[in-house]
């Protein structure tokens, strides 16, 4: 019964949303529309409330194990802890789409009510948001109904959530990511409303600034959590695989980063206005493209949901429609938006716009990497895949140029050029320190890889230039932007640690009997297989090994596990990780050989924890920018 109520509430919400649209289309050009806006706003709030209640009921149903609902029966299990019963809702397509819509609604209802009644763009923004929520709600109800019942006989037991998904990091990874993805619907709708409205003297940046920054924070946390989870749970020892689905999250992230920057430039010196508007539209468009790629099953990926052409067509149609509307309005308003102001070479905004172009190039290259296999297959039937080498080759020069511009921009001023001589003097110490740093790394490691060294050099350039800035302003007491400093050092550290990780990390495969020990290499002088235990947990069998590793004379005990889950018979490995300042000792247990010995994969991964730390720095930096009193 409850599920029918939840279903009914969602359908009602869709009807109310359509009514708002129809009502406003008819009366858009009526003279007095204050009352209409009040009415529409009320209806909009009600429609959103209906969605929240509906989702709340669904969460309750998942918690009480109502296996008469097909989706819950397929993805949950009565033996699961309550936490995973609830998170199982977003472990597959229908439920995660529902969650996506709930977040869309939360952002929308907050923003619409944040805009004052007299705000000239309130109505337009609200209508755009209504259209988008309605589009996704219909998608949910028509093509992927989570409320569907198994009739007449309910399942007695649920099929269980995939064991690799029974993990706290993965439970919060999708919500964070969705909050980020969907958050850019605010800037998208606001910009389309602004373009439609046509009063271009209005300074629109201040209204959506904080909203975009918060969405950026969620997106960054979401991506980082996913990467962290993949590292410790999947047992491959990697943190980023250039998988198509990772790429479709990275594209909006890059666009959002570019958007944040040009929003600063646009508000400081009223240049780059068209460009900023375009980027604001792009972010959400790329999110929609991502939703299409992931949910249509068109691309093979570890994340892809079951293949369903109907969903693909609907999403492609809907995203195409939304994108086309927004770009058409932008194109129509383009002549009015032309600014007479030119960007002065050597000014802060000139460096900033160069980096914007580079970020767009990066997005385009990723887009090409994602879609090229599809294009090629439809052209000549060749099946191909594009892996890390492509992205590494593309990204290393882009990163280098970006870092150089970033270095130049630190001492540059808004709207004023900089003398070349002054610029050279300003960057000389940074360059010198970075070259020394790269030389030192080469001296100690004796490993050379051009791509990795480009990354290390770029990272050092950014870190050094901001660190020098920090020291000099501590001395002169000059003002500097602390949030920006923190975020950029985070980025530099990211480049640095990713590159260091790629040259220093290595893997050894070992096979041993219980009680045996082995010499691995000079720094890993002993690998001892102490014990093997077989135990039973509530919903799985465990095989746990006890290993002693002597790593540079430090004793490390590691307990990697292999688990076999009863419900699906699925086998998973639990990696054992020991972390020290620079590196992780990362051990997975493999299969038992016919002769009774066990295989292990031992990885020494350098600077991985630094990667998570650097994205924490970026998030902290942006958070500081939000809470700074004078944002613009």
């Amino acid at each position: 019964m409850i599920v029918e109520i939840a279903h009914f509430l969602s359908v009602t919400s869709a009807i109310v949303l359509s009514l708002i649209l129809i009502f406003n289309l008819f009366f858009y050009f009526a003279d007095s529309h204050t009352n209409q806006i009040i009415l529409s706003n009320k209806l909009f709030n009600q429609a959103c409330l209906l969605i929240f209640i509906s989702f709340g009921l669904y969460v309750y149903l998942a918690a009480i194990d109502d296996f008469s609902i097909s989706y819950i029966a397929n993805h949950s299990n009565s033996q699961l802890p309550i936490f995973y019963k609830i998170t199982s809702i977003w472990s597959a397509h229908e439920g995660s789409m529902f969650l996506w819509i709930v977040f869309l609604t939360i952002w929308s209802v907050l923003f619409v009510n944040y805009l004052a009644l007299e705000h000239p763009l309130k109505r337009g923004t609200m209508l755009m948001l209504t259209l988008i929520i309605l589009g996704f709600l219909l998608f949910l109800l028509i093509t992927s109904n989570p409320f569907e019942r198994i009739l007449p006989f309910a399942a007695l037991e649920g099929a269980d959530i995939n064991p690799v998904l029974q993990d706290p990091a993965l439970a919060i990874h999708p919500p964070m990511l969705y909050l980020g993805y969907v958050g850019f619907v605010i800037s998208f709708s606001f910009i389309t409303a602004y373009l439609f409205h046509g009063d271009f003297n209005y300074s629109w940046e201040k209204d959506i600034k904080s909203w975009s920054l918060i969405a950026w924070i969620f997106l960054t946390i979401g991506i980082t959590l996913g990467s962290w989870w993949a590292y410790y749970e999947l047992g491959w020892g990697g943190y980023w695989f250039w998988d198509p689905v990772e790429n479709v999250a990275l594209m909006p992230w890059l666009a959002a980063t570019a958007f944040m920057h040009s929003l600063f430039a646009s508000s400081k010196s009223s240049v780059l206005k068209t460009w900023t508007l375009f980027l604001g539209i792009m972010i959400f468009t790329l999110s929609l493209f991502g939703a299409f790629i992931v949910r249509s099953g068109i691309i093979d990926s570890v994340h892809s949901f079951a293949n369903d052409p109907q969903r693909g067509i609907y999403l492609l149609g809907f995203s195409g429609f939304i994108t086309l509307i927004s770009l058409a309005i932008l194109a129509y308003r383009l002549p009015q938006l032309q600014s007479s102001k030119l960007i002065v070479a050597g000014s802060k905004e000139s460096f900033l716009s160069m980096n914007n172009i580079l970020m767009l190039t990066a997005i385009f290259s990723i887009f090409l990497g994602v879609t090229y296999p599809l294009i090629l297959e439809s052209l000549n039937g060749n099946k191909v895949s594009i892996g890390p080498p492509y992205y590494n080759t593309i990204f290393s020069p882009l990163i280098l140029i970006t870092s150089i511009f970033m270095m130049g921009s630190i001492d540059a001023l808004w709207q004023r050029g900089m003398q070349l001589r002054k610029l050279c003097i300003a960057v000389a110490p940074t360059l010198l320190l970075s070259i020394l740093g790269v030389y030192a790394i080469w001296h100690f490691t004796k490993i050379f890889s051009l791509i990795a060294y480009v990354g290390i050099f770029s990272g050092l350039l950014i870190i050094m230039s901001y660190a020098l800035k920090l020291f000099s302003s501590l001395y002169t007491k000059a003002y500097f932007n602390k949030g920006s400093l923190l975020a950029h050092i985070g980025l530099g550290l990211l480049f640095f640690s990713v590159s260091m990780n790629s040259i220093l990390s290595y893997q050894k495969n070992i096979s041993l009997f219980v009680g045996e020990e082995q010499f691995v290499n000079a720094s890993l002088s002993k690998f001892q297989f102490l014990d093997l235990k077989k135990t039973k947990a509530s919903n799985h069998d465990v095989v746990a090994a006890k290993i002693l590793v002597l790593h540079d004379n430090q004793s490390i005990y590691l307990n990697p596990e292999k688990r076999k889950y009863f419900a699906r018979g699925q086998i998973t490995s639990e990696t054992a990780i020991h972390t020290s300042f620079l590196r992780d000792t990362y051990l997975t247990i493999g299969d038992q050989l016919d002769n009774g010995s066990w295989t292990f994969s031992l990885q020494i991964n350098y600077f991985v924890k630094w990667i998570w730390f650097s994205s924490t720095l970026m998030v902290a930096g942006i958070a500081m920018t939000i809470f700074k009193k004078k944002i613009l």
Partner: protein, 139 residues
């Protein structure tokens, strides 16, 4: 008038030239970094250049897995042709007999040397790349 138009045209061509150069660089890099996907039959039929990295996909033949120390030997089949595969390392948890597998590596002297082994994500999931193969099997 004419002069400004000429200038504009000049600018346009410069931008065009730069973008073409950029895009062709990207495409060039793309083409040398592609991993072509083959089924065993397709791979044996095609004339591969020695040392070209490809992806080989199919099913793990029943009873073909053999482990020696940390090396693993098995046969990938599409129920028409078979290719022996060698891999050094730990296979993914979902790697098992009679289920889908994708190996990334090189074909040399009649056997496939895999650098990486990918298995299916979950038991219900089948890579689209393998769909035609498994359908053939069903029919």
């Amino acid at each position: 008038m004419l002069k400004s138009r000429q200038k504009r045209l000049q600018k346009f061509f410069i931008i065009l030239l730069l973008s073409v150069a950029g895009i062709s660089l990207v495409l060039f890099s793309l083409n040398s970094k592609l991993d072509l996907f083959y089924s065993p039959t397709e791979m044996l039929a095609s004339e591969l250049k020695l040392g070209s990295r490809i992806k080989l996909g199919g099913m793990v033949k029943i009873g073909s897995i053999r482990r020696v120390d940390t090396d693993i030997f098995f046969i990938v089949t599409d129920f028409e042709s078979e290719v022996p595969v060698t891999f050094r390392g730990i296979t993914p948890d979902l790697f098992k007999e009679d289920s889908g597998v994708v190996a990334l590596g090189y074909y040399q002297n009649g056997s496939f040397i895999a650098e990486q082994i990918f298995a299916k994500h979950d038991e219900n999931y089948m890579p689209p790349e393998l769909m035609p193969v498994s359908k053939k099997n069903d029919s």
